[in-house]
Amino acid sequence: MDIELSLVIPLWNEEGNARLLYERCRAALERLGRTWELLLVDDGSTDRTWPILASLHRLDGRVRAIRLRRNFGQTAALAAGFDHARGLYVITMDGDLQNDPDDIPAIVEQMDAGFQVVSGWRKDRKENYLKRRLPSMVANRLISSLSGVALHDYGCTLKGYRKDIAARLHPYSDMHRFLPALASLSGARYTEIPVKDHPRHSGASKYGLSRVGKVFFDMIALKLLLHFSTKPRYWFGYLAVPFGLLGALFGIFAAVEAFAPPVDGPQVVFAGGSFLFFYLGFYLFTLGWMAELISASGNFRYGRLASGGGDEPS
């Protein structure tokens, strides 16, 4: 019999949480009355997390444990979980018990209703306002307006993906925040549900403010990937036009200066500016072709998913 639910949980140095996490997940999953598996991904822990996961696996055959070679980060750990998951629904959750396993039934319910991506929304967050909540509020707004995917909380790890969409997502780097947005590329139907947010049960938090700069560039990349991956010639073309115009403008000035006496040199500056701007316009224009080549030779599948009721789980 096929497995219906795969719960993927990345853990990094969570020796204090792992057992409790398992107990609570098992309780929540058993109430649902479906077949399930629990994928615990040890993301290079240096404490006793792995032996604990191994003992959980011996205790309960539905627990599968994956151990990564070093700490690769949450996105990579989730990718490992996606690649090993067998369930029809793949649900991801934090390993530090800030998410509540009791929210899983609500996610499953939405997925039964036909949504391919269900995202958790921590409506009532328990963390430091200035250090965590304010930056993530700004980031969420930005991601939402850049991606055109209307969700409130991208950072929440508690999410559900249907198997077909999970197989199309190949998370790398720090992409886990953008997964619903990337899923929308394939036409996934998504929704969000409010979930509970708890303070950490045990151990220290592993995030800080330092991510802001990285997230900024990641978001610019996201914008490009979401809206122009299939037709980058437009994007680079749009960029090229203003520089071409500036080049023309400077060129005109240079020409006017050249013919207007006295000729004492200032036109050289304008001519130089004109060359530089023209050069940049031409460069961006040709880079657009290069980008077309890349996008044509890649193997990302943009193909739409069968929407609505077509391939619903029965």
Partner: protein, 322 residues
């Protein structure tokens, strides 16, 4: 002789860049260290010397399966070892240099690979070359350690042992075999170093290397090494997120450039100072152009990575309990 299909424990790759009496000494060391241990095979990587053909009849492996990979011209150690690994049947792979042959003890030490170690490399000690040569190497490896955050003393001894999966996960192109330990650490493998005697033993044909005093390498070599280090720095940190690197570099060019342009423009409006007489305008524009160019390269990089994201495996699995 072992059956072709049965898995071997060890594959010994001997890299031969030029004809040298040291080759015979490697065979002796290997036979002495391994003959009473698990089955092994020897693959000679004949990098364009033609020596291998003459050898094949003499049973140089002393009973162990022996094969020669002959290259029509010199391809370098990375390519040779890569080809050797494809042919090798062992779970553990040893690479040994024919120039400066290793001792039997060193080979034994390499065979101890196991447990928590995935890769073992030798670093040369003693007077393996002239003072100036060693100083050059020290500087290069110091730079490499800085750029990569690792702590390897020597990457060019050619004495290595690693588990097959390490080589399968890391692409060995160009000169990458040299940096295998660093790339392996990046994928989470456990890498250990051990000392090997640096000086070539008498009769190995390389004794004069140790006495070589000051040898300046070709200028291109220095440039190549510098580029190698920069590439490693980039590969280890930004391969998956090129825009983080190019975006940061590009912004530090673009922002001052734009500020300069805006300042000149405002001054033109307020004080009437003609723009055409201000050559610094060119610097402003140049910075702007460079900035846009650098950032757009980062965007192209993002596209390359994203459109190939199916092939990317951003993690390396040590163990799965099903």
């Amino acid at each position: 002789m072992t059956d072709k299909s049965s898995p071997l424990k060890l594959s010994v790759l001997i890299y031969l860049p030029r004809s040298t009496p040291g080759l015979a000494m490697v065979f002796d060391s290997v036979a002495e260290a391994l003959s009473d241990k698990e089955p092994y095979e020897i693959i000679l990587l004949d990098d364009g010397t033609g020596t291998g053909r003459e050898l094949a009849g003499d049973d140089p492996g002393k009973g162990a399966p022996f094969r020669v990979v002959r290259f029509g011209r010199r391809f370098g150690e990375s390519v040779a070892v890569d080809a050797g690994i494809r042919l090798a049947r062992g779970d553990t792979i040893l690479t040994l240099p024919a120039v400066r042959p290793p001792t039997a003890d060193e080979v034994r030490r390499l065979c101890s690979l196991g447990g928590d170690t995935d890769l073992l490399i030798g670093y040369r000690t003693g007077h393996w070359s002239g003072r100036f040569d060693r100083l050059q190497m020290k500087v290069f490896y110091g730079l490499t350690r800085r750029a990569t955050g690792t702590r390897f003393k020597d990457l060019s001894s050619g004495v290595r042992a690693f588990r097959r999966e390490v080589a399968e996960e890391i692409a060995l192109y160009g000169e990458m075999i040299r940096f295998l330990p660093i790339l392996a650490v990046g994928r989470g493998y456990a890498v250990e170093e051990f000392p090997v005697s640096g000086a070539a033993p008498p009769g190995s044909g390389d004794e004069e290397t140790a006495r070589r005093e000051s040898v300046l390498l070709a200028p291109g070599t220095y440039l190549n090494r510098l580029l190698d280090v920069l590439t490693l720095f980039f590969l280890l940190r930004f391969t998956r997120k090129p825009l983080r690197f190019f975006g940061a570099v590009g912004s530090t060019l673009l922002v001052p450039g734009l500020l300069l342009d805006v300042w000149l423009f405002l001054e033109r409006i307020i004080t009437g100072e003609p723009l055409a007489g201000r050559p610094i305008l060119l610097l402003g524009i140049l910075l702007t152009v460079l900035g846009v160019q650098t950032i757009s390269i980062g965007l192209i990089g993002e596209m390359i990575i994203f459109t190939h994201s199916r092939e990317i495996r951003d993690y390396s699995v040590r163990e799965v309990l099903e």
